[in-house]
Symmetry: C2
Subunit: 242 residues, 2 copies
């Protein structure tokens, strides 16, 4: 079946992280994940708590909803999850968005390949570090990067690793070393995805960000890199749907 399980559609807002940080975009968040990261900030996409909110939608219905919300004030859509790479049916949505002259960004952990990856304008592969309690399948990840390269898509691809501690940092080094030609982003982790109070969350995250900057600046295995916070969390704290 061609329908897509959707949990949230919202925007326009900014993309808060990664290769197109700051980009005006709309978000489509799909349900379902093959991972269950310890610190996931969207657990509702896979822990069953938002099961009732899942909408099975066609690509047409999704684009219609995006236009209702964003009118003519957007030309970029970010597909996020969960892990949207579980869904073969994203293919038709990407095509329809492109027909509407809308660019498409996607984030996935790199645990599954989909043929439609080669159509994504801004593809973020985000292997999960040890603090997540997940384990990277390097064979699958290698295969994904190889296929993207074969299709000349590396200029549309980036790698991103979230870092909470020194062990994560070693993992980030390993990923960067394996695929050194691919633009590499280090992102500061959010230690408390429940904390209320926007200013408090921002000040805490900025301290963590400063820690990560300090670590990377003195590390000669992490030179050709970008170190970023999550801008949406700085602006809106742990709020959903922004």
């Amino acid at each position: 079946m061609n329908k897509i399980p959707v949990l949230e559609i919202f925007g326009p807002t900014i993309q808060g992280e990664g290769m197109v940080v700051g980009r005006k975009t709309m978000f489509v968040r799909t349900a379902g994940c093959d991972y269950s990261c310890a610190w996931c900030d969207s657990k509702f996409t896979w822990d069953g708590s938002a099961k009732e909110d899942i909408n099975l939608m066609t690509a047409d219905a999704i684009v219609q909803r995006l236009k209702e919300l964003g009118n003519n004030t957007f030309d970029h859509v970010t597909i996020s999850g969960g892990n949207p790479a579980l869904l073969k049916s994203i293919d038709g949505l990407v095509d329809l968005l492109h027909e509407n002259k809308i660019e498409v960004a996607l984030e996935t952990q790199g645990s599954r390949w989909q043929d439609w990856f080669v159509k994504i304008d801004d593809l973020t592969i985000s292997p999960k570090p040890p603090s997540s309690k997940m384990e990277t399948n390097w064979t699958v990840l290698d295969d994904i990067i190889l296929r993207l390269n074969q299709h000349h898509r590396l200029s549309h691809t980036s790698l991103k690793v979230v870092v909470f501690d020194q062990t994560d940092l070693r993992f980030a080094e390993e990923v960067h070393q394996c695929y050194s030609s691919i633009p590499f982003y280090l992102q500061v982790g959010n230690e408390d995805v429940e904390e209320a109070g926007v200013d408090q969350v921002a000040n805490r995250l900025l301290k963590s960000y400063q820690w990560l900057i300090d670590q990377v600046m003195t590390n000669d295995r992490l030179n050709r890199v970008r170190v970023l916070p999550q801008l949406h969390a700085l602006v809106w704290g742990n709020r959903r749907g922004v």
Copy 2:
């Protein structure tokens, strides 16, 4: 003469703004500017207050100093000012950095052309909005963009406009409309470049950033854009040399 008037060399740190936001980089800040923006955050580069600190340095001496400070922990240098585009002598520095396999970023307001612009890896042209009290020479700006295009350098170029208010926003729309194919960045202005207290500065700037996001999200003349804060000001407040 081939020497470069240098006011600061520091890093490695992150590039806090614009097209390579978050990038690990070293900074070389040159003295002298043809502008005197009302809200300039580096007035010491042109108001005479740091005249005694200017070092006339050869490209060799600059690269040597960069290596003393950054050892083997960097592969990117940002030349900033002031307006480095006043200096023909930057040419040799760019060549020497490239010979050392170091990428070069540069920011300038677009008031002067230099032939070495075509060698810059990450070139930010930042026309100043009305709140700066400066006036853009559109003939010069047009000519710069035309030359960069003739040299196939637009993929290494971005435009950035700082926005404090609605009038600045209209100016940003105008710039984006004139050069719609060039990656466009809107950057939130810093209303108080003297305020002490890192948390206070961060919280104030994040409120201004949210205001700018709100303005851009509902504006259909600003779709293919990125909206960013100055990350270094969020982390270190108004401190110099970071």
